[in-house]
Amino acid sequence: MTAMTPAGDFRSTYREDMTIFPTRMSRYALWLGIALLCLAPLMLGRYELGLLITIGFSAIAALGLNILVGFTGQISIGHAAFFGFGAFASAWLHEYAHIPVAFCIPLAGLMTTAVGLVFGLPAARLKGLYLAIATLAAQFILEDFFARAPWFTGGVAGRITEPFALFGWRADREESYFYVVLAWVVVMFLMASNLMRTRDGRALVAVRDHYLSAEMMGINLAYYRTLSFGIASFYAGIGGALYAHYLLFVSVEAFNILFSIQFLGMVIIGGLGSVMGSLMGAAFMTLLPEVVQAGADLLAGSPVDRALRLGASISFLREMAIGAAIILFLIFEPDGLARRWRLIRAYWKLYPYSH
């Protein structure tokens, strides 16, 4: 199957052939989408904006995990720990080094990269289940560190963080912080898309698809496995820092293994090896509980509830519905939302002559 481009879309230069969004329509749609999002604080309430912000920082962290798991084929079940490290690092940098929050966020990303590289160096020599266990160790070591390093994390009491501020502009409300997260999402997704169309991005995928021939092509396997870990940690750190300055409080308990698995869920549901899939997966995992909650609210007190005497069990149903949705997803669309989206687009492009 070759890439589908609309009739009349001829590229006369290689430069035109290398754009991230292949067609003019998709570029217009992107600009329209960003423009609509810029207007979102005028139209949406604080709660909905909060959801969008959550999707934003989750998507950044999920994208990092996707670069590691989806593109490089390495597994990690310690991503939330790096996310947490980024959150604490940003808060700590602001409190002790008195760096403005706007600069703390990228610095926290770099600090998390350094920590990720420490764990990534041994991980570069491991694969599959062994790597899974090694990253699990990273999860527990970092969690333990959070609990035992009050100078860094505030210990069990947690750490209060300052809102985002830049040259006197304070983003302490959802309406303003939304723009900060939006800008970071755009930048981080652009950087990942650029990476994937250049040398080192291709090398990561080559390591995943066939490491023996990758080596023959002159690719240093250990270097790229470690690099992938570093990039994933950087994205996790940025996501975590954005989280910290949104909630304004970081607690030691938040970054447990369940949170790590949630990131894996985002990546798998969104689509392994898809940049935009990371965003879709983060949106899905953030909105699914909301949708199910709305369903549960409808159900509560309804005739069905009375007939079946569900009562308090509705909250259990809610948890089960989330699990069931994820399982059904994996069965019917194992390649993720990104592929489903492509299929839907292809369907409408070819409609009604689909053959």
């Binding site: 290689y14 950087m191 169309r197 250049t198 040398r199 995928v205 995943r208 066939h210 002159g218």
Partner: protein
């Protein structure tokens, strides 16, 4: 085919032996590949042909002996550094990056020639990554034109037909700009037409692109037609080396490779049991 370019050896195997535990895959194999040659390794299944190529590509390290490339000892050079030295290869069982497009697969071959890493890569517009990509894309397109795979440029490599995938693998190896290209059974599993195309490509990449070819191939017709010189392996030993017609006239080769009854008596210390004429008891 005559007219071998006598320009000194590109590749020399010097007494290469390879053992896996008790199994002797190669025993004291020596040969030299001259610059500009199409050089074939032939032999029956299990003769050690692929093991020999793996020693050249760095996958295996010879237990004894060494490999010299352009006069330099590369026996201990790791695989990933051999692309930059000038060695490219294709694999016997397809080894494409299955989820990448054809174009991306071939661009991976440019890896060691590209200079912009992840930093400039992520920034694309600033730092010259785009300019570099375009320059290399232009060269890669020449290879795509040469191998006539323009129509599948954007197709996912894993979804192509077998013959096309073989061609993409050749394109990827060519993209490395190797001085020596190792082809492990480039025509296995192809129909006659595909074989003829592939033979043409090999001749052209040798004559027009100036690459020295070291090839393993089972199709004797092809080997005879396009090789300048041939080495024959049997049970990990070299039993003949020379021009195709000389080698095929060699009685050892006829016996070992073509399965003909052996009229020549081997050296007694080699394999005495095998030299006995089958006689009725």
């Amino acid at each position: 085919m005559a007219g071998e370019a006598e320009d000194g050896p590109v590749l020399e195997a010097v007494g290469v032996s390879l053992r896996f535990g008790g199994v002797r895959a190669l025993t004291d194999v020596s040969f030299r590949v001259n610059r500009g040659e199409v050089f074939s390794i032939i032999g029956p299944n299990g003769a050690g042909k692929t093991s020999m190529v793996n020693c050249v590509s760095g996958r295996y390290r010879p237990t004894e002996g060494g490999i010299r490339f352009e006069g330099r000892d590369i026996t201990r050079v790791p695989t990933r550094k051999r692309a930059a030295i000038g060695i490219g290869r294709t694999f016997q069982n397809l080894a494409l990056f299955g989820h990448m497009t054809v174009l991306e697969n071939i661009m991976v071959g440019r890896h060691h020639l590209l200079r912009r890493g992840f930093g400039p890569g992520m920034l694309w517009w600033i730092g010259g990554a785009r300019r570099e990509e375009i320059a290399h894309r232009r060269e890669v397109e020449e290879i795509i034109d040469f191998l006539e795979i323009q129509h599948v440029r954007k197709a996912v490599a894993g979804q192509l037909s077998y013959g096309l995938r073989k061609r993409v693998e050749l394109a990827r190896a060519m993209a490395l700009k190797p001085k020596l290209i190792l082809l492990d059974e480039p025509m296995a599993g192809m129909n006659l037409e595909e074989k003829e195309d592939m033979a043409r490509f090999i001749i052209d990449l040798n004559e027009e692109w100036g690459m020295t070819v070291l090839m393993i191939e089972h199709d004797m017709g092809v080997v005879m037609d396009i090789s300048h010189r041939v080495v024959v392996l049997d049970f990990g030993r070299k039993i003949a080396e020379g021009r195709p017609e000389e080698v095929m006239a060699d009685p050892h080769v006829r016996r070992a490779y073509l399965g003909e009854a052996d009229e020549v008596v081997q050296e007694p210390d080699e394999a005495p049991a095998e030299t006995m004429e089958p006689t009725a008891p």
